[in-house]
Symmetry: C2
Amino acid sequence: MKNIKLTIEYDGTNYSGWQNQDNAVTVQEKLEEAIKELTKEEVKLIGSGRTDSGVHARGQVANFFTNSTIPGEKFKYALNNILPGDIAIIESEEVDVNFHSRFDAVKKRYRYRIYNGEMPRPLYRNYSYHYKYNLDLDKMREAAKYLIGTHDFVSFMGSGSVVKTTIRTIYKIDIQKLNEFIDITLEGDSFLRYMVRIIVGTLLKVGNNQISADEIPRIIEAKDRHCAGPTVPPQGLYLEEVYYPQKTS
Amino acid sequence: MKNIKLTIEYDGTNYSGWQNQDNAVTVQEKLEEAIKELTKEEVKLIGSGRTDSGVHARGQVANFFTNSTIPGEKFKYALNNILPGDIAIIESEEVDVNFHSRFDAVKKRYRYRIYNGEMPRPLYRNYSYHYKYNLDLDKMREAAKYLIGTHDFVSFMGSGSVVKTTIRTIYKIDIQKLNEFIDITLEGDSFLRYMVRIIVGTLLKVGNNQISADEIPRIIEAKDRHCAGPTVPPQGLYLEEVYYPQKTS
């Protein structure tokens, strides 16, 4: 029995997110179907975590067990021949049988892309959030500093989520402007449901002078979703990379 | 009667190109429908030229005549409220009644985007051409120099096209690499059918050492489509800008 680790890029536009659910087309389902077509085995693909409907990934990680004789590094070519064009395996390898995509992940990096121009941009409509109001990036960076570190992020969690703890650690928030695009990159040990999108929604309120940067500690301490900003839409969000403690193969 | 000039961005993925045709959804049709909904007038939109199925535009130009009292610069907002998300007016203005998008155009700039990495990239599948083989950009730049100037470009014209003359002038071909993307930008007085995509297909053969750069003059002189390279696919092509001799308003 081999444990195969996949690194996956997908365009989330036409999927109801990563995780399998009834009456919806998901990325996990498409991958499991492709693996079945290739290996003739029913596999349960273990993802590093969910992504929501419309969210993209540049480096989602998942693993599965197989008796196939296909070498680990060849799975990417074989699966890409089967997968639809909006999902591709960018890396595949055989890893230790104990490797688990979700439990072993120690850090994740997300990026949120804002298009900050006035007029709509059809070419980026599914790949960024069109926010046309002025933004003070220095104030957003100042606000972001208060979020770094270990906090109870329950104010930044979407409703309907059941988790053991809402304490998370954010290592880094980087805000970069390139032409009319603003990329907000976040690294953390893991993220609560909608956490990245609510943090971005809150930073936008700071950048647009609706709240001041030094209100962030109060929002964290309130432990109340209503104190944070809105959940920005999914199409600007990318799961960029999932980190593991050491080489897993 | 006012003459309104529109500058248009569109994602060509889901359209059968710019120009109206039976049993196909086109960008021109969607725009004419939106103008009709706004002004209650049946208009004939004059485009600067066609773009083929799957080709994108960042700066297509078109004009139409209207009795509407809407100020020229307001059309963009009004039309964007009606248009589907994959088409947007980025500029609108009232221009001289004699302005004609096609006849008055003096220069066009196209860009062709190649993704030159090994593995497929779902996020760019509709916005670039995945060419995974090695490319020698210096050889491609050397070949491009032979194309600059006024030539009979019939070797680089798709079949089924009827034109008065196949003589065209190319002002500039620029080849830039950014990470795994290669952008080929072409400026010319106008372009024959498929001309940009056949030029790019020919430059790729040079870059991949299938033909040498100094064979370009021979290909031009042959006046035979079979001597040039293949027509590369449409999704890498962008009509970037259409130039007019002076400010038209």
